[in-house]
Symmetry: D2
Subunit: 308 residues, 4 copies
């Protein structure tokens, strides 16, 4: 069976699992998502690509932007600077947890893959103001995806901004503990809300995942976008913390670095071999695409993808 | 020895303990406080009053306003309404703790004597806007203290507002969990920052404490300001949670309902017998006046004040 | 209406609330309790006593022994020694919480009214071994209750011992952090399990409460059993932490020091005025007698019992 | 430069870092360790092996036994059975944390790489009693290491047993929450204490790591000891949680599955390429060999070991 047939077959096997999940509803724009949707796009290191299902549908990137935020912060400041400001340990807590109660919040307590750390990362991106920072991040996203038409979903952004009080609380905590220095909290959050609202499709995520898989090189041209050390840094964090508090389970079952978002996207990185983009907005209780994880699990077993 | 002599003597015995504490420094205005200051004012139910030391000095009320916020909320809404919105259990955590990590924040998790609960209380005070709410609270404070000249310390208020990022985080968490409904978070915080910045002296606190001790009646005229049930409500919470996470120790050593603030004030309530106001800005690690607690401990032993 | 009629009337009004609770079932002996039972015994400082309902029924003392353990520890070691070894702050957590995760457990983190602190107290009672310690505690209980026939419920004790793995865990944690020094953990636990299994009735609890209310004096003979300072110590802790994590609610609604146990007992202390014993084995979610609390709430309102 | 020279050179470069760490002292036997020791043994898939420094010295396996416990549990029960009983998410907490306070402890809350999960694993190993279970584990360890002379360090075992009160507390908590069913807690702990006290050297760890790297096959003979799926399972957990709460840092810096122990050992798994054994008893604050991590970091950079 060739790869295209395999994807079609696995997708049909996995689509019923969409019934086990729920579309995110915390903002009205996400609630409009179609629960049955499921799509996959695979880009291989031999330059070939394969796809199935709803791979053309657009959705907001949400937390899948976190590794891109981290990449931009690394490219702007280097590893040591970033590492000193945002920790890398799994927090063992939900993505929006307030990781502080009785003790001083330290950089070691935050992680780029949970909201607090991702907001902190927005302050590490170079730029005169929030808007300039976001534009640079958007440019990087376009470059990684090889798609200059990637744009902000204005409606989602405005909705995130209007309802994002928990993220606002996280922002003021970062400010309290000196992790947002000169910047205005609301401006940092604005960059974060925009970052989460970038509109992408499965192909875009597969392309971004490919660059991480090839440790910094663009498909085909092999042009280097960032040093391989940054890919190791990002991929390591994706492997340990990329799938919220289902990261351990995903490592056992699928075994590759990946990042999910509540928009239904999953970007998976198979080092040296392929980038994979998934879209499946029906989420499990941890915020991961139910059918998307099943699809990756099947694919991993069929193609021996686990790096472990 | 008469009461006046007793106060003088105890005050001199306790003043050295001011050396064990530190003046609050989180805003510049508080840091200007004089560590050696110590004053006491006692108002008895027989109408007599006694004082010693720096009892005339003014300071900001800070957390001692919390029972007044609670009283105003009770007077505006009744016990059941307030009880349903703000819990009454000791949290076992510092006054500014973020009492939420992995779980939904419920009204049962907050307490009127910690910041989060006190901020929630600001939304329960009737008024068209934050300013009107604060004015009503200020009027109640003046009425309780029998001092129409009590006013806002503008410099402290502005400083609190500028630096209050942790309280801002708490406000946005309350908003996230539906505990600030229609109101704008920043406006609610504005009322809270102003409430904490009311300028008082020991005599004022003794008068306020007296009204709570007499379960709602003004000194001398015996005019009732609020129903006795509200005094029981407030005094019970003061006894269990009034002295931050030193409340248990204070109950054992002194044995009366009391509330302290980082401005150095302590308001103590000796039911049916007296109201006591203390000023001593040198604070222990929990935010309570070091020498003030010593003074109350001595006074309690000498005059058998413990209600337990 | 005289006192006897009042008790009868309140008891009938409150009995239906037994339907809202559940009898404890963690050991078979407790599960045999009769959910509808409700009894009260009041002993007043004028020497008169009043009772209603199932006041003669026997039940195991369970956590109501905690203040007696604390008293024995105080009588054997004095306030300073005990205070240095077991803290007095409310933990804000359930009675059997494991108040330690990432940090070193300190004496300040435990409380005599939660299991960990009560187990620690067993090591502070003088005696060559666990059995001798328990015998001294039993003697004190008999003396306080004025009832030499109070005895151990052997079946409950054996059941507690067999199933008490969480308490065993707490005991080994105390050992880990140096709070059980020379003693064998299992022997300390044995004393604790026996202490919880003392069989009492409402009259016993009322008598014990009376001695605490009179700050150490026996009814009628006025003979002093312990110094008044120990009564203040115990009563203060009962007021702040006696009713599990419903202590704040109880302070607001009833307003007197009290201790409840999962056997259905409540011992209430009305300083200078009375001791009250309640039996009502239908418990609320926090482990307190549902109807018992209602009964005390009504009685407190009718007789102005609140000390706050 | 050939591999042997490289190891010698890196070892000399890294040895000074031993000064930054401390030998474990919680039991006297470990405290006797020599802080300056540092050794490495590398076994490659081409059958060649290289070594440097104190690679022959013996030490107790301590937590490096955890992946072997997990393997034995998997071999005895299959993936689904084990997965249903012991979770796989990072806890974000120290290795000996008590991952329970206010909530019911569930299998999802424990992890095979922290003590509580490892103790739970002991009950999943088949055997009539604790001793038989331990013997089977010891046999597996010998088989993995290809060294039939691996044995228990009796002195360390007795010391662990005598002082292991925190582990005892963890055991009783597991019993409380139904995770140790029929077994006697002390017997389960006995198996655990023995497991931690197996005496090994760097060569042993390299051989064990090799079998995991080759997904279940013995060096040279290529004989399969366990299915590849179990290797993926174990390696995934090592990658996410193998280095205590320094696992994220290790993933970023070194990038291979590994497990450390407070005896100073590290077993590293470079999938398809090599097994590495390290000995360096000077530990950092998280319990990992300071110089050992440095050595692996250098080796990873020189030989491009990172799988991410």
């Amino acid at each position: 069976m060739d790869m295209e047939e395999l994807l079609e077959q696995l997708l049909e096997e996995c689509r019923p699992y969409t019934q086990e999940g729920k579309v995110a509803t915390y903002i009205p724009e996400l609630a409009k998502g179609n629960r049955e949707d499921l799509g996959i796009y695979v880009l291989r290191s031999d330059g070939r690509h394969y796809q199935a299902g709803d791979y053309k549908k657009r959705f907001t990137i949400q937390s899948v932007v976190k590794p891109i935020l981290l990449l931009q912060a690394l490219m702007d400041n280097g590893k040591d600077f970033v590492r000193a400001r945002v920790g890398v340990e799994a927090t063992g807590k939900p993505f929006d947890a307030i990781n502080v109660t009785d003790q001083t919040l330290l950089s070691e307590h935050i992680n780029p893959m949970v909201n607090m750390g991702a907001i902190a990362m927005c302050t590490l991106i170079k730029g005169k103001n929030g808007e300039e920072r976001f534009q640079r991040l958007l440019e990087l996203t376009r470059a990684l995806a090889g798609d200059p038409e990637i744009a902000l979903d204005e409606a989602v952004y405005l909705s995130e901004k209007r309802t994002g009080n928990k993220n606002r609380a996280l922002g003021f905590l970062l400010k309290t503990y000196g992790m947002i220095e000169d910047d205005d909290v609301e401006e940092v959050l604005d960059c974060y809300f925009k970052a989460c609202s970038i509109s992408v499709n499965s192909k875009n995520l597969a392309n971004i995942g490919y660059v991480l898989a090839s440790r910094g090189k663009r498909p085909q041209t092999e042009e280097r976008i960032f040093p391989s050390a940054y890919a190791h840094y990002v991929n390591a964090i994706l492997a340990t913390c990329g799938m919220y508090d289902g990261s351990g389970d995903f490592a056992v079952k699928v075994g590759v670095p990946a990042k999910s978002g509540v928009g239904g996207g999953i970007m998976a990185v198979v080092p040296t071999r392929m980038g994979i983009g998934i879209f499946g907005p029906a989420l499990d209780g941890k915020g991961n695409s139910v059918a998307g994880i099943r699809l990756l699990e099947q694919l991993s077993q069929q193609m021996y993808l686990s790096i472990f």
